[in-house]
């Protein structure tokens, strides 16, 4: 089975060969963005080093029907790129009545890779705050394929919160649901990998809990089976790889507790900027932190 990087590359290649474009900075530089970009000239547009204008150009290409992919090699660049995405693309359909389907690949990297205060962290929460934009966090090959298919069928702008830790994944991560289990973790993005470790570790101790993999942040989507699982649970922990305060985890916790009358808690990044040295890391909540938060240690 092809891994996530290969999946993205294959989908992109087909898109470009159908006449569409991918735009971004240093796309053809060493590594071709973690091997997610096809090594070809057709359809690849190298931007000058201008972030706000670069996003504006992607928006213009989307208005023109080009279905562009905008690549941001680090999610920290989202801060600079946000204005055209949320102020223009996200408002197009509602205000102007025409669409602006730009596909933004925002790539997060882990705090423990020495990225420190610059390129560590994930910022999908700030985009989920705004109406008019789809926010998704895929982690597996099939999830990327499904999201791409949905994007092509829709006329909405997409903010795809990718995580570098997903690129080598060549398997699917399924939900673990058993109606007898009374504790459920809902995990997002790279937190899914740590949550899965936590579930397996607890299983070894004969403690069985559910795991729901959340992909669609906005519109917020849970399947009927997932909803039933939540209804059966007495305790739910939402684990995200972005900051807790005003983050998607807290919003989802509020939504779930209000709708299904469950006890919820959240776990995300701690309230400080990560540093480059190991002792200053502030990355995706680790397996043991998740177990501790559940009160199972």
């Amino acid at each position: 089975m092809e891994n996530v990087a290969e999946t993205i590359r294959a989908l992109t290649k087909k898109h470009l060969n159908n006449g569409s474009i991918i735009i971004g900075q240093c796309l053809s530089a060493v590594g071709w963005v973690q091997n997610t970009i096809p090594k070809q000239k057709k359809g690849i547009i190298e931007l000058s080093m201008t972030d706000t204008a670069g996003a504006g150009m992607a928006v213009g290409a989307a208005i023109g029907g080009g279905r562009p992919i905008l690549v941001l090699r680090f999610q920290s660049f989202l801060w600079l790129n946000s204005s055209p995405i949320v102020m223009h693309a996200a408002k197009c359909k509602e205000i102007f009545g025409y669409s602006c389907p730009v596909y933004v690949r925002a790539i997060a990297s882990e705090s423990d890779s020495g990225q420190g205060p610059i390129h560590a962290n994930t910022y999908h929460s700030i985009f989920a705050h705004m109406p008019g934009i789809v926010v998704v966090c895929p982690m597996t090959p099939n999830e990327f394929k499904l999201i791409w298919k949905k994007y092509l069928a829709s006329n909405d702008p997409y903010l795809v919160s990718e995580h570098r830790s997903s690129y080598k994944i060549n398997y699917e991560i399924k939900d673990i649901i058993n109606k007898k289990n009374k504790i459920t973790i809902i995990a997002i993005s790279s937190a899914r990998l740590e949550a899965l470790k936590a579930v397996k570790k607890l299983q070894e101790k004969k403690i069985r809990i559910n795991l729901i993999n959340l992909i669609w942040i906005k519109p917020f989507y849970l399947s009927a089976i997932q909803i039933q699982c939540i209804k059966n649970s007495k305790k739910i922990l939402i684990v995200d790889n972005s900051y807790e305060f005003c983050g998607v985890a807290s919003t989802i916790a509020q939504l779930i507790s209000a709708k299904y009358n469950c006890k919820t808690d959240i776990l995300g990044l701690k309230e400080f900027s990560p540093g480059v040295a190991k002792k200053y890391e502030n990355g995706t909540p680790k397996c043991d932190e998740i177990i501790k938060k559940l009160g199972l240690i």
Binding site: I45, A53, G60, A61, I63, G64, I95, F96
Partner: protein
Amino acid sequence: MNRARLAYLGEIEDLELKYSKLYSKKIFQKLCKIRFFEEEVKEAHKKKLTTPLVYLSIGQEAVSVGVSFQMKNSYVLAQHRGHGAYLAFNGNPLSLRDELLGLKSGCCGGKGGSPMIHDIKKKIIGHCGLIGDQVPVAIGLSLVKKEKKIVCFFGDGAAEEDYVLAALSYATQNNSQILFICDDNDLSVLTPTKDRRKWKLADVAKSFGLNAVDITDDPWLIDHWTKKLKNSLPALINIRTCRDIWHVGSGKDKSLDWNRFEITKKKLKKIFKENEILEIERTSKLWAKKIWKT
């Protein structure tokens, strides 16, 4: 800098006499339509009939009029002060009126208001309201509409936005078929250009590799340069003009450095009889009043 001197910046003597009578008539008709439409908006705003934020083009009408004849069928990206460009490029006046009145039948369903107007059927793209946002958007449009020409308006304040300068720079890299028009009223809200920067936009554009000129807002002069530059895009025309009304709203700014409408009428007297000019004004006023009657 004495702004009054700029009323003649780049002028070509008796240029208007090189144009056919019919062409000059069309120029003046369009100028009048925008002016009298805007006068109606101004009155409606004073009566609080419109949405509060209204950005009027009075005083600056000649800029979009001067560009419009040579750039027919182009994509148009206007700025927040965009009524002039919208009407000059044949945007639906009824949809504009309804938008300003906050009605569902407005071009943005009454949600965008004055700064966000569009008429996608006429290839007039909406503006997000943040100044200069449309400049990189125009570049993006040119990436996928390579065969089409694009006109992109922005103001002298927007010209200072980093993303506008970056986009202008990229226009030459991409060989974008865009004519950039800087609607230079020398004011960012009320702060004059001399308090904001030392450079001139046309100089910067030239250094980026664009063809560029710096001229006054004589409509024939603008038409002349648009015709000249439209086949060597990307290009930029910085057009010195005078805003007659507040940055936003319907109040009046201090007295104009020059009144292009009156200067144009004076020039037209070399071509038309007085009553012909008055007749164009009268019919345009009637057109605008009819639109705003409801």
